[in-house]
């Protein structure tokens, strides 16, 4: 196993090197003629007004929040998917995988399915809740007139 991951490590270093090397090497022959206009941020040809580093809309953040939880849940499904076939095969196959690490006498395909199914249902409940409450909609309020807005705030 180590050598496979050693390949990964070396490849990672090579990949970084592939980026860094031309940045440094070609800096020698690249023209460098900076001026204030060139170095300013792109604002469609106009002067920059205000800062882009503002308190951003929360919607992107909520997407990420939902993502994190689902990511963890799906991660838990990977080991299950990996051994599900063995569970269908029966306790002997599971025992062969576990190598004595776990109590496998009751392993069966039906049990593994039910375990996953409960897990999936809980996942679905979370999704259904967010769906029902409208947290998955991108923009929850597009009002057409200011008066509605005022009512909501009040």
């Amino acid at each position: 196993m180590y050598e496979n991951y050693a390949h990964v490590l070396i490849f990672a270093l090579v990949a970084v090197g592939v980026v860094v090397a031309p940045l440094i090497l070609f800096a020698l022959i690249r023209p460098v003629r900076p001026d204030a206009e060139k170095l300013s941020a792109y604002e469609c040809g106009e002067r920059v007004v205000g800062t882009p580093w503002i308190q951003f809309n929360i919607r992107y953040y909520l997407v990420c929040l939902v993502f994190l939880v689902f990511e963890v849940e799906i991660l838990l499904l990977f080991p299950w998917a990996l051994v599900y076939g063995a569970f269908i095969g029966g306790p002997e196959q599971v025992e062969a995988l576990a190598q004595g690490a776990a109590n496998t006498s009751e392993a069966s395909g039906g049990m593994a399915f039910v375990a996953m199914f409960i897990f999936m249902v809980i996942l679905a409940v979370g999704l259904a809740y967010d769906w029902g409450k409208g947290y998955l909609e991108w923009e929850t309020e597009i009002t057409t007139s200011p008066e509605i807005e005022e009512k909501e705030v009040a």
Binding site: C44, E46, V49, I54, F56, N57, I58, T144
Partner: protein, 376 residues
């Protein structure tokens, strides 16, 4: 309901344009955005302002025609025509019948070219690149015809006071006929690619809806007005030139995919109008009479001092009208153009309120503005 709760976040002031891929030239929109939603948009104009109207007051009537080319550079022929009609009205010039037919043929061709570009860029605004280039290929053919007819590809100065510059030769007629034959099938293709495309429909239907009342109150004209369901076309309702002798239908927005007056309707009215243009040109080619293509125009074209005219013409972008006051000599006292593209920009502040950035781009594309005409 929890979803209606207001979340606080700062608004970003962002300048969209003048150098932005989807502001169709040099329109600048100051957007106030909250995340993906545009809360407020304020148009800044004048990046292409060239005092065209003031220049018009210092030039002779004939000399000003090329300046109109530069206003709406996508439909220069129609722009020329509008100016010439105003001058002819002011000076009571007679135009020979053949000249009128040639004008109609050429200007309807230019209408097709202009609509093609509007469709292409609208597709580009929603992210579809291929329709843009397919539309451009057809537009190229039209430009080839124009080049053969008048020698220029963008600023033609072809429609002149009193008629047109050159006659339409038999080989030109042949070119136009050839083009029209293959164009209808190509247009069907383009239609298939974009109009019924589910993603495109979802991006443009129900986006930027302008009701009939609003459209009238804002002074919308042309396609943008008809897309809102208002049955009004100068070519039929206030006919000029030889339009009464041509049969055509006025296409209206019907809200097939969403609501009447949405971006998809504006798009689709343009598509239908191109089919109508083909019909009109074919009729005009059949009826093309022999004779002079240009009337007798005095070198020193004079208009009586104080005489004023307001002549409106149906252009691809709406009603282009020129208001002229004669100056006694060969120079007008006052020139004023009513630019339809400028009117199309008027509802921006109301329309682009609480709207996705992507919808803003789509709605702006569907309004089909040309900044040369807006700024003049």
């Amino acid at each position: 309901m929890a979803t209606k709760q207001k979340l606080r976040s700062e608004r970003m002031l962002i300048s969209m344009g003048p150098q932005h891929p989807s502001t169709h030239g040099v329109l600048r929109l100051m957007l106030e955005t909250d995340g993906e939603v545009v809360e407020h948009a304020e148009p800044h104009l004048g990046y292409l302002h060239r005092c065209a109207e003031k220049i018009g007051e210092n030039l002779t009537y004939q000399q000003f025609t090329p300046y109109t080319d530069r206003m709406d550079y996508l439909a220069s022929m129609n722009e020329n025509w509008a100016w010439c009609r105003a001058v002819e009205e002011l000076t009571n010039l007679e135009i020979p019948q053949r000249g009128e037919y040639i004008r109609l043929i050429i200007c309807e061709l230019n209408r097709i070219a202009s609509h093609l570009l509007a469709l292409g860029t609208f597709g580009l605004d929603t992210g579809a690149f291929t329709p843009f280039l397919l539309a451009f290929r057809e537009r190229e053919t039209i430009l080839d015809i124009f080049e053969a007819v008048c020698g220029a590809r963008l600023t033609y100065n072809y429609v002149r006071v009193g008629g047109v510059l050159w006659d339409l030769l038999p080989n030109h007629v042949e070119m136009i006929r050839d083009f029209l034959v293959q164009f209808t099938s190509k247009l069907d293709e383009l239609n298939d690619l974009l109009s019924e495309n589910q993603i495109f429909v979802k991006r443009s239907a129900n986006v930027g809806i302008i009701t009939a009342e609003d459209a009238i109150e804002y002074g919308f004209t042309g396609v943008n007005l008809r897309a809102s369901g208002v049955d009004w076309d100068l070519r039929r309702d206030e006919p000029y030139s030889v339009y009464p002798e041509i049969e055509f239908e006025v296409c209206l927005g019907k809200g097939i995919k969403g609501t009447v007056g949405d971006s998809w309707d504006r798009y689709y009215v343009r598509v239908q109008e191109m089919y109508e243009c083909v019909k009109m040109i074919l009729q005009a080619l059949d009826q093309l009479p022999p004779g002079d293509f240009c009337g007798k125009v005095p070198k020193m074209l004079k208009a009586p001092k104080g005489r004023e005219v307001y002549v409106r013409t149906e252009n691809p972008r709406g009603e282009l009208a020129f208001y002229l006051v004669g100056g006694g000599k060969n120079i007008p006292h006052r020139v004023k153009a009513r630019a339809p593209a400028f009117v199309s920009l008027c509802p921006i502040e109301d329309l682009f309120h609480h709207m996705y950035i992507a919808d803003l781009v789509a709605a702006l594309g569907s309004l089909d503005v040309v900044m040369g005409q807006v700024d003049r």
